[in-house]
Symmetry: C2
Subunit: 112 residues, 2 copies
DNA sequence: GCAACACTTCTACCGAATGTAGAAAAGCTG
DNA sequence: CAGCTTTTCTACATTCGGTAGAAGTGTTGC
């Protein structure tokens, strides 16, 4: 389970893109919408509960960072979806067939 | 967006497994839980709205069927997730690295 | 054609998740 | 300690999904 709401996703995107620990205030400023800091704090707390964000509590503005990179997270999601398949190989086959030729070529390279 | 609730998923599984059009009553009977038919009708209507189910309105017990096979649907989900990636090739590479050796072998075969 | 039954639609309620933020509490700094 | 910054608590609104009764519509046997 790692379904994210709209705002939660925006915050994650920010954390992923910044690649560093950010304070709630920094997140708040860098978001497009004009939200109260408490709102951002609530969202960060929820993301922490979901395990998507780690909080450094030893500094005074607490600092938050994504626990996984964006790519790692995406791969987790992919595996979650694949886990619902009855016939994994069949699904993989179709899936591979659905990506671009360039991507298929990259896969060939990777698979050796 | 095609996130499914528990019951919605059960109903889809049933439709996928039966592979045919079913009436609300049939779905109801074949479900493990003991639900009112109206409940099943509500769920089927919601699934129809989500585009996951097609309804034949010309027969009297309306008949419902999945619009895509289970595999097609899973692949769609995979593509949806992949669509959120910035660097698709990187994600694909990691993803492929996360499947079993057997599956990787199957992919090699498929990719020719 | 109508009564009785089958089926569908409407409406509603509940709980959980998410967006939103004020009020209150806690920590820091001069 | 006073005042500011930051965090926590609490709360409310909305939406989604599970659940189903009441009311409406279609069908069928007579």
């Amino acid at each position: 389970m790692a379904s994210l709401g709209e705002l939660e996703r925006s915050v994650m995107t920010l954390l992923w893109e910044s690649g560093q620990q950010l304070s709630a205030n920094e997140v708040c400023e860098q978001l497009d919408e004009d939200l109260a800091v408490t709102t951002v704090l609530t969202v960060l707390a929820r993301l922490e509960k979901k395990g998507m964000v780690e909080r450094e509590r030893s500094t005074r503005p607490h600092r938050y960072a994504a626990t996984a990179t964006r790519e790692e997270h995406t791969v987790e999601m992919l595996n979650e979806v694949l886990g619902t398949a009855l016939d994994r190989e069949a699904v993989l086959a179709r899936f591979i067939g659905s990506v671009s030729e360039n991507e298929a070529a990259a896969l060939r390279r990777i698979l050796g």
